[in-house]
Symmetry: C2
Subunit: 226 residues, 2 copies
């Protein structure tokens, strides 16, 4: 369902060109569970942003669910981002002046859900990540790992068919990490696709396949025998 061919992402700073992605080919099937690993700065977040339709490649093709992404108009793209894809950002990107429950409910506004149902579903999502007693806290009244879990809850709220999680356990202790891995396993067993960036080998072991990047390219890709 995700087909990336010869993807380049080039930044121009003054006279230098920086190849954040330097010719990436990647195929992801429905209900795949991929761990994306690699050194700091190797292009993982850049690749995730392109897969998530949050950024466009400088060149190459991206076919998502049989549609060429750069042929779609803004409305179609927004629809995909909101309904098909759940994104957990490496730096969470929570709205600072809204509470945890309000932050989690935001994707449902776009989906046209009533306020009562939005808050009910947001409460349920926060419960599933262990934050039922932090719902009315704003981000600056939460710990780092609590903010990360709010971001995870928000990504799940629309029941997306593709979860893209960039370092979802980077600030979590082993128990909280295990809870998140259980959630992702469950989502994947229901037929959804999970792509997760991680720098921790133990976390990567939860995936079906492990893809390693280096210097803007995919270095190797192997099945994860568990």
């Amino acid at each position: 369902i995700i087909e990336l061919k010869n993807i380049f992402k080039i930044y121009t700073l003054g006279k230098t060109k920086l190849y954040a992605l330097n010719g990436v080919d990647l195929s992801i099937q429905k209900s795949d569970y991929l761990a994306l690993m690699g050194p700091s700065g190797s292009g993982k977040s850049t690749l995730m942003n392109i897969i998530g339709a949050l950024d466009t490649a400088s060149s190459g093709t991206y076919i998502l669910n049989q549609q060429e992404i750069n042929q779609l108009n803004d409305n179609d793209l927004a629809q995909i981002r909101n309904k098909e894809i759940g994104f957990v950002f490496q730096s969470f990107n929570l709205l600072p002046r809204m509470t945890a429950i309000e932050n989690v409910a935001i994707p449902l506004i776009y989906a046209g859900i009533s306020k009562t149902e939005r808050l009910e579903r947001a409460e349920k999502a926060l419960n599933s990540v262990g934050l039922s007693d932090r719902m009315s806290h704003k981000p600056n009244e939460l710990s780092g790992g609590q903010r990360q879990r709010v971001a995870i809850a928000r990504s799940l709220i629309n029941n997306p068919s593709i979860i893209l999680a960039d370092e979802p356990t980077g600030n979590l202790d082993s128990k909280s990490s295990a809870d998140i891995m259980n959630i992702f396993a469950e989502i994947n067993e229901q037929g959804n696709t999970v792509v997760m960036v991680t720098h921790e080998e133990d976390i990567a072991q939860n995936a079906k396949r492990i893809v390693r990047m280096r210097d803007g390219k995919i270095e190797n890709l192997y099945e994860n025998r568990r």
Copy 2:
């Protein structure tokens, strides 16, 4: 050099009182190397902020280098924060409109160092964390792990005698993490004190002592036999 006795940190939200720190006693000697671990929300960052004189306790005493912290005036506190203590924040706290080298040089402005020397020293610090080719990038032109390394470089620039690092390798791959652990080991061998929050057992193994927190209290504390 760090003596915390019966430290409480209480937040009042509406009618509820939240005990982020619920009676903490901790002694840290000169050239100690402590790893602080515990579940998400257990009070690690709150404790670090109090040790770093960035926040004040609701009650209890904190003696730093034989001085009771809440007896000091603002000037003395600012001096300590700038010259004695290097702080790596869990969320980095870089200034978005300045480049990496400018961000790293900031603590030296307060110290009254000339601009030429500031940029020289900042360049050296960025070099030590592997970012010599990213000096003129702004934070939004850097990867998550690169921002983390800029925050680490900034904390070291004044050669502080106490390093407080909150999840310094949360976004780093194994090679970058190893580089940071080597830097901390070196600083510690020179007689400086390191306190590091981490959720990764391998990273904690670099420390001399491991302190575990739970629900705002210290649960146990043991020597790390390496």
